[in-house]
Structures are given as structure tokens and as C-alpha cells.
Point group: D2
């Protein structure tokens, strides 16, 4: 376990009054630690929240509700703890090199499916930025169903992304498939994502819990919403709470789309967790003509951002060209998405 990790699950949380003094907080933390349990203090909101970590029986004996400064004590009932809205009832905002995601900050991540060359990636980044995109995506390691398909440029792809990021000022994001590639990814990349196929690769999730980089988890193609939250808990448990979730389509019987983009998952996730939720309409549909409608729907349903594949010559892409938007299509999409985002009022969840 990491030295500073969240080495267990909070069993209950002590909500302090907004007027509680730091002495009152310290007193409670002291009592918790004396009992052998652990305390996790969160002061990011208006009032301090103390997560109490330990065996339920042990904790039950502590008389929190009668202590000075305590507003309320709330037991946590779900399997996921750190990531639950039950635990932190706010909208977490993730900062990726100055670009914020979550709350009312809407992320427009875009770029090519795979990094193919420096020139292609630089051009894509410039185009994405000009069109209003805020983050650059690009695959250096590509998970492909067939061992005979293009597998990505590997570390060379990471270097290209890094150089392009510096040149354009866009933070860069890429997929990590193997813990053994973690070091170069940490060196070059600003946001690490775990693809759908690795959402239940629990060792990889735990590794990412021990780094200081924002992480995005894409929902597995047969993962329930609850399993996605449990995967996030694997990361959060180790201490990394900068986690973004992403809906990208599930497997169903329907054959006219590659996956069924489950937009219902977005309001469910927003209700269950304080983490930001993005939608990927490109992989979710697999077809160019569906990306714009589903992207519009993604913002309308309440997502905190979109990840869209863009390629200036989709027909020449080495990977997944059929689903990439052209730059003109993307530019129009950004405008519409921004307008829809303004229109919708937050739904209380």
C-alpha cells in the first residue's frame, strides 16, 4: 500500500459544522486515531468532512455526535466509498495543467484515434485547438482485437504527444495498457486513460492510485455502472482522487451500431459519485454520421465533457477512420455543444 494512500475504506463520515474550529477537528481526529482507526480529513468544501476508516464495530463505540463542532454522522452503505456522493456531496473539479473538468467546466477532448506521426499529430492539435477543443487525445499504445492490426507507435508516440502538447499548449491524454509502460507515460502525458478492456485490470488501477496524475476510466463494455464506480474506488483507495469517468458504449444485441452508448448511465453516475463524467460518442457508435447527434445528446444528458475522434483525412487514418469527424464537422459540433451546455439547468440529483 502507498504510504499516503487511502489505505482502507471509510465506514462513516463525520460532517463538521461550518463554524467548527480546527481544534475541534483535531480533537476528533485524535480520538479516532487513539481508537486504532484512521481519519481522512477533507476541507475542500465549505465544512470539514472527516472520513473514519476502520472496522465498523470499533468505530461504533466512538461518541461522535456528542462532540463539539459535529453537525452530523453518516454511515456509508455502498460498496464504493471514496468516490461516492454519499461521502462527498459536491462536484469534484479536476485540474489538468490548468484546464478544469467537472462542476460547470465542460471538457472538449479531441484528436486522432492513433498517433501516426509528428506532422499528423501537430496538425490535428492545431486544428482541434482552433475549433475550440481543450484537450488533445491520441493513442500511442493501441488495443486491437486482431494481433495483425496496427498496434501504435509506443514510446515514440508518447514523445510526439508531449512535443505537440508543448508546442500548442494543449494538455495531452493517452491510454495506458500495461503497468510496465507507466514511467514513460508519466513523463510525457498529462491525463492517463484506462481503456474499456482494462477497466477491470485491478492491478493497473491500483498502480494509478499511487501516482500524482489525473486518470480517466472508460467503462468496460460489459461493466455495470456500479462496477465502474468500484473500479474508480480501486484508484481512489490508493490515494489518487483525480479521477474522471467515461461512458463509451456497452455490448447489447443491437447490430446497427458497434456498441450501445448508454447515456442513461450519466444521470445515474452524477447521482452516485462526485467525479466528473465524460461521454465518448466516437467509440460508442463507430460511425461518423452518428457522432454529432450522440455528442449533442451527451451534453444534453448532463455529461461534463466529450471525447471525440477527429482526423483531417478520416479515409486515410490507420485506425478507426470510419468514426472520425472531419474538422468542419467538429467545429460546428463545438458551437452547438457550448450552446446546449448553456441551455440546460442543473438537474438536482
Amino acid at each position: 500500500m502507498a504510504r499516503n494512500g487511502n489505505s482502507g475504506a471509510p465506514e462513516l463520515m463525520v460532517l463538521m459544522r461550518s463554524t467548527a474550529s480546527s481544534d475541534e477537528v483535531d480533537h476528533i481526529v485524535g480520538l479516532i486515531q487513539e481508537s486504532g482507526a484512521g481519519a481522512h480529513v477533507d476541507q475542500s468544501g465549505e465544512a470539514t468532512v472527516i472520513g473514519v476508516i476502520g472496522q465498523r464495530a470499533q468505530i461504533a463505540a466512538l461518541p461522535f455526535e456528542s462532540l463539539p463542532g459535529v453537525e452530523r454522522v453518516v454511515p456509508l452503505r455502498k460498496g464504493f466509498k471514496w468516490v461516492s456522493r454519499e461521502y462527498l456531496d459536491r462536484d469534484t473539479v479536476i485540474d489538468i495543467c490548468g484546464r478544469k473538468v467537472g462542476g460547470r467546466h465542460f471538457a472538449m477532448m479531441a484528436g486522432p484515434c492513433a498517433v501516426e506521426s509528428y506532422e499528423q499529430t501537430l496538425q490535428a492539435a492545431k486544428d482541434v485547438k482552433a475549433a475550440g477543443g481543450t484537450l488533445l487525445r491520441g493513442g500511442a499504445f493501441k488495443p486491437r482485437s486482431s494481433p495483425y492490426a496496427f498496434q501504435g507507435l509506443g514510446v515514440r508516440g508518447l514523445e510526439i504527444l508531449s512535443a505537440v502538447g508543448q508546442e500548442t499548449g494543449l494538455p495531452v491524454a493517452t491510454e495506458l495498457m500495461d503497468a510496465r509502460d507507466l514511467e514513460p507515460v508519466l513523463e510525457h502525458i498529462d491525463l492517463i486513460w484506462i481503456g474499456a478492456r482494462n477497466m477491470a485490470n485491478f492491478n493497473l488501477l491500483s498502480e494509478l492510485g499511487r501516482v500524482r496524475k489525473p486518470v480517466m476510466l472508460k467503462r468496460g463494455m460489459s461493466a455495470t455502472v456500479e462496477e465502474l464506480l468500484m473500479a474508480a474506488e480501486y484508484v481512489a483507495k490508493e490515494g489518487n482522487e483525480d479521477i474522471i469517468l467515461c461512458e463509451r458504449g456497452i455490448r447489447t444485441f443491437e447490430r446497427s451500431t458497434r456498441f450501445t452508448l448508454d447515456l442513461s448511465a450519466v444521470p445515474v453516475l452524477k447521482r452516485e459519485t462526485h467525479l466528473p463524467v465524460l461521454v465518448d460518442p466516437s467509440h460508442g457508435t463507430g460511425k461518423n454520421f452518428m457522432v454529432t447527434p450522440l455528442a449533442r445528446a451527451g451534453v444534453a444528458v448532463g455529461a461534463d465533457g466529450l471525447i471525440v475522434e477527429v482526423h483531417d483525412q478520416p479515409e486515410h487514418a490507420l485506425s478507426d477512420g470510419a468514426q472520425a469527424l472531419t474538422l468542419d464537422q467538429y467545429e460546428q459540433l463545438v458551437t452547438e455543444v457550448r450552446t446546449i451546455h448553456e441551455v440546460i439547468s442543473p438537474v438536482s440529483v
Copy 2:
């Protein structure tokens, strides 16, 4: 088979020039009929389209392309014919007692899940109308998984809907489950819908093909998009082309929602058929807090309307109260939906 029905499938269509004379059209129709095949003439668009019905071999001998007035001949390759956009490349607009659905006409159908009494239904209709709704829905015959659950008021429910429709001026819609109830339904109701459980009740579909009333088909919970289109073809084949389609959620492994609302189906349907497509976010999710987000997403993804359950006292509803919106929620929804509908530009499909 109905005397005036579309008694076979068109195998190809002859697109006439917009300058073609009616003599030229008549000449071609005559040739087709002489050969033993059938002709279906559609003049709803700018140029006349002649559907040629018969055996492919028989038709192949006719020299359409060299005849005067002919622009182009297009063979139809899909299993569905009358309802395909291949056959009619336009947006069909359905007129329900003066309220239009399709094209740029957006339908806001709303009302209680089940008709419970005259008073409740009248109040609901007034409220729906005041909030901006355009059609009243209400179930008189209720399909319920359990034989011990409330099964609806039957014919009495139809009479209530009819009376309320006359009082408020809202067209009324209800579900038909059994061909033996067709007569009173035709007498009292303006739009007949076929529920998800009956989407593949082919006899019922054929019956509706022989009436002169708009019909709405809800997608079966395990029906593919193609099967929904084939169900519509059952209706269209008999001569009734006033058909609306409705996405209402499919069965998947996900357990946090009752069904998975498949919004991807909307752009696929809009590409494949000229018929209007509605979305039902109430049955698709089964939970109040998800209805508004999914309704917004429905309009954003390109649907031609929404069907929403509204109840002034959801906690007292005899059926499905948990998913009904309150009137305040519905009123706000109508405003947002209208704005989003303005924002989105038609996606070329």
C-alpha cells in the same frame, strides 16, 4: 388483404423528372400494369415517384430508363420497402387532428401512465396543455407483467380520453393490445400506439395497416432497429402510411435502470426511414430523476418528439408513479426542449 392496400413490396422505384407530365406518368403506370406488376404513385414530394410492385424478374424486362420523363431507376435492396428512405427520401409529416409530427414539427406528448378517472385525466390534460404539451397520452388497456396488477379501465378509459380530448382540444393517444378492441379505439382515439410487448404481434400490425388512423409503434424491448422497421412495414404494406416510431429502451445487462434507452437508434432510424421518430424517456428509465436528462438528450439526438409521463401526484398513481414527472418538472422541460430543438441544425444523414 385490404382492397386499397399496398399489396406487395416495391422492388424498384422510378423517379420522374420534376418536369414530367402527368401523361408521362400515366404511360409508365400503364406499362407496369400491362406487364402484370403493380404501380404505386407518390406525388407528395417535388417529383413523382412510382413504386413498382412485383417479381424482380418480371420487372427487369421493362425499359424504364429509356422512357420519357424518367429521371432515374433505383432498385430497393432492404427488407423494408415502403418505410425506407431509399424509397422516399423526405421527412414524412403525420397530421394528428391538426397537430403535425415530423419534419421540423416537434411533438410533446404527455399525460398519465393510466387513465384512472375523468377528473384526474381532465386535470392532467389541462396541465399538460398549459405546460406546452401538444398531445395527451393515457393508458386504457394496461399490459402488466403480473395478472394481479391494475389492468386499466378498458372501454370506460377510452370514453374518458375522448371526452377530455374534446374538452381541451388535445388529440388523444392510447395503447391497443388486442385487435378485438379496435372498434371502440377507432371511435374514441386520435393516435393508436402499439406497445413494446406487441411490436411483433404481426396480426395486430396488419389490422392497423387497414385503418385510417395514425399509428405509433414502440420498439420491442429486444427488437433490433431493423425489426422495428419491418414491423412498420407490416402496417405500411396494408396501406396505412401514417406511422410514427418510438424508442423506449431495450433490455441489457445494466441494472441501475429499468431499460437502456437506446438513443443511438434515433440517428440510425432517421437515416433508414422517412417516418418520424419519438423518444419515451419515462419507460426507458423508470425513474423520475432520469426523465429530464434523457428527454433533453432525446431532442438533442434528433428525435421528432417526446412522450413523457406526467402525474400531478406521482406518489398516488395506480401505475408507474415512480417515473412520472411533476407538472413543474414538465413545464421546465418543455422550455428547455424547445430551446435545444432550435439550436441543433439538421444533420445530413
Copy 3:
């Protein structure tokens, strides 16, 4: 409601001792009726079981446990009542013109997908009988996804089945799709089945509850096991308890088979209900080469019978020929199935 139907759901059941006298039974039935509740007496097992029908509150006041002859009182907690093993803990045996299904009686139903002619059907029946089949299946009304596909011979098909049944001595089974065809079906057919597409056609189910003919319900392609049991409850509630269930494949993401035959449903059903359960490996797979393996698996998993499509010239069948077994294949299958049925010991469920 039918005069003699099971006009409500039993809320609890009174198990009498095996030594209870008929006077003791009558006394209890009298008390129940005086209270305004209903009583349903089942004496098919070793000891009498009295189902008590009415409001839970009303029944709760009756002091069954202290009455003479009473062994035990069991409240029924599931949504399905009459068909539950909770209610009747035995294996129901259905008699179809002398052929038994259920308990240790294994049914081998076979025949062509569709009745095409008298000659074809007679030959099929003779062949099925010679190979060891016990019931003849054949479709007179065919549910087809496309309105342009062969729809069956209708009433003429029923007459053929009836004549062939009389000539060969095999009971005959066919699918009923429409309540309006019930009369001729009752006249000609020994076992009526409801196809997957109509499993949730609740009106049709209720109709069949009011006839005196064995009924087989095929599981809907997206119906849960519980929904199949609720569909059976619709029939049983009206008084017809001669119900057979049939697993025939569900819709999943897998594309190498037409449906996914859910053999796990068999042990679940055997645990939950006393009704016999058959397996249809032909429609469940859609491919000839899979029928024999899945048929073997069906008997091994504990089903009470198999329904197999057989055609002497599969390549000339008007419907579903690709999945029909040849007669040689069927003959070998019958032998293997009988042997496997001997091998397996009943699993206590």
C-alpha cells in the same frame, strides 16, 4: 373472469397432514369461505393442499395452525403463485391425448417448422414416429419478421395437422398467434403453443386460461425467467393449469448463433415451478450443426423434453430449413437423448 377460474392469487397455503380427514378439510374450506376469502383444494399429491385466496389482512385473522388436521401454513411470497413450487412441491405431469410430459416422462416433440402440404406433413409424422418422437409439431400460422415471407397455410394447415394426427396416432401441436383463431385451433389441435413473440400478449394468455387444452409457453426472447413464470401465472389464474414451459433462446450480444439458448434457465425453472420445462434447440441456435449438441445438453441439464425441427429435405423447406435435422440425424439423437436421460439422477432442487 371465468366462472371456474382461479379468480385471484393464493396468498398462503394450508398443508394438511396426510392423515387429515375429508371432514377436516371441509371444515377449513368452510371457515375460509365464511370469512369472504376463497379456497382452492388440490388433492393431486399425497396430502391435501388448500390455497387461500383473498386479501392478506383478511386471511391473517384465520387461526389455521390450531385447527385439526393442519400440518403447516406457508405464506406465498413470490409474484407467481399457482405455478410456484412454493405452492405445489411436486412435478406436474401433463397428459396430451395419453402422452405424458413431466415427472420422469420425457417428451420428444418434432416435425417441420411449417405445415406445407398434407403429403409433406404425413411423411414427416410417420418419420418422426418411426424415429421415436412422441408428439408432432407444425406451424399453421407463422410469425415472420418480414411481411413478404411465407405466412403459413392458416386453417387449412390446422386441418392437415388434425388429419395427420388421426392417421398416425401422434398428438399434434401448433402455434396460436391470434385469439380470433382460437376456435379452429381448439377443434383440430391437441397442444397449443404461444410463441416467443406473444409470451407477453396478456390477453391471449388469459384466453388460454379459460380453455381445457394443454398450453405450452415459449420464453420471450428478452423475457426473464421470472417474466416467463408470470406469463404462466396469467394462464393458471384463469383455471387452466396444464401448462408446459419452453426455453428457446434469448437475445444477447453474441452473433455466431441466432439466439443464445439459456440452458441455465432450466434448473432455475425446475426449482421455482412444478410445471414441465422443454428445450427447443432448433430455434435457439438456428443452425443444423448445433441442434444435436444442444439437444443433448438440454436433456443433460434436466429438461422434461425437446422440440426439434425435422424435415426430410431441409434444403427445400419453405421456412427455417437451415436449422432442421434430417431424419437420420434425428433418429440418432433420440437414441442418445434416451440414454442420457437414464444416466442422470434427479438433482434435488
Copy 4:
């Protein structure tokens, strides 16, 4: 790429006559290599098969059919090559420390879900062996949805398995989740399996392609049959052809079982690949009472073996106790399974 790996996909195969001399084979291999393509010679069957690896265009120029000793040339059309029955039309037999799997050799793998201690594992192994089991399974690394659940004993578990294997003579199998654990797993374990959650962990698959140990791939819970075969191709491509496949249940809408065991996949796999196919009825159902029926069905449908969880005190198991068979249940199962295996004749596929 591994030095001795199958470093590309065979594009076609040259079937030699059974009378071909080794000179004739060498001559063809020489021609292939001169052209710049690669040759893979398989002499495990009656006649030699030469796989030709390279670009299709390049290979097309070689005049194989006119060369002495050549029987026939077959182009390979599927995405999977090395593992396809198109490529090798035989039943591959895998040898695990003397225990054979495949062909007519039926594997009975059993043991506890997780290795908990030396004593528990030794007892389990002795019991499994006495009951007729042929391989011992036990998890040292446990993939758990919740980070707060028991995660396995890790390397200590491997050492226990190894010791128990030596004491009892049973080959031992365990799951590998992380390439970084490969070394100790190779040291202690006789059969390495990849769990459902890692079936699409392509890096891990490629690693296993480069070792000399039998590998078992469990089907991902939303993987198609074709994707399972592509995963096997990832292993085979690197040179390791000792691969066993395992069906263990897929995600569907049905809620009465944890997964839906897809037994239809077995005949499809047997038709598509020469690799052995096992069935895991324990994880596929998640419930004790279903394991025996589905195990029987697994052998009846044509699988080459079964993996069953057995625990002498299921109620005390640290992991998945609810689905484990008791030893008495397992012993009876082995007897029945062996009998059913005798009964069924090979289905030609």
C-alpha cells in the same frame, strides 16, 4: 517479436500429399523463404502442412500447385489463422505434465476458488483426486470487483499450489493477472489461465505467447466467440500453441443467474478451432444448485473438460463459497460426466 515466434499470420497453407518426401517439403520451404515470405511446417498430422506467412501479393506469385508433392493450396480467410480449424483440421491435444486435454481426453479440473492455506489446499487436492479429478485449480491472485475484498495469497499461494501438486501428483493451475508475476507463476504452476477480465489484455496474451507452458483463456464476459479466438491468436502468433479455451458465462439481461453460460459457444468453437474447449459451470452460474446440471450439459454439448469449484466447507470459503460443490456432489458428478462422455458420439462439425 519473439525469435522463434509465429511472427506473422499465415495467409495460405500448402497441404502436402501424405506420400510427399522431406525433400519435396524442403524444396517448397526454400522457395518460400527465397521470396522473402516465411514458412511454418507442421508435421503433427498424417500429412505435412506448410503455413505461408507474408504479404498476400508476394505469396500469390508462387506456383505451389504445380510443385511436386503438393496436394492442395488453401487460402485462409478468417481473422484468426493459427488457431483456426481451417488451418489445422484436427483436434489439438494439450499435454499438462502427462495429463492430456483434447481429442477424446476429457479434463476434470477442480479445486477451491482461492488458495487459503497449505492444509486446506492439500485436503482439497486429495479429495479432488480421490473423486476422479485430473487437475487442481486454485487462485493465488484473485480479481475482485471490490478493493476491500480478499485479494488472494499471491506468491505464497503459488508455493502452496506447487507443494500440493508435488505431494499429490496433480498438475496445478492458477490465474495470472499481471505480467510482472509471470516469473514465479512459471516456476510453480503447470497450467496458467487468463481470467475473463483479462481476455482482452493483449500485452499479457503476447507475453504468454512467448513462454513454454500451456495456457487457458477464459472467455470475457462480453466477448464474442470470434473475439475469444482472436485472443487465442495473440498467444499463438508468438509461438505458444498449447492453448485451451474456456466458456464461463456471458453478460445478459437475465438476473436469476450471475452470468448466462453460453453452451452454444462450444459447438461453434469446436467447428472453428482445433483447440480444446472447457466449460466452467461454477462461475457461469454462481449458485451451487445449478453447477451439476450445467456440468452435465457441458459434457453433453461436446466440451473437452470441466472446471468446477469444490470446497469441503463451502460456507467457510473466503471467496465464492456459494457456488462450490461439496465433495460428495463432485464425486457423483464425475461419475455421471464420464458416462455421458461415453454416450455421445462425435458430431461431425
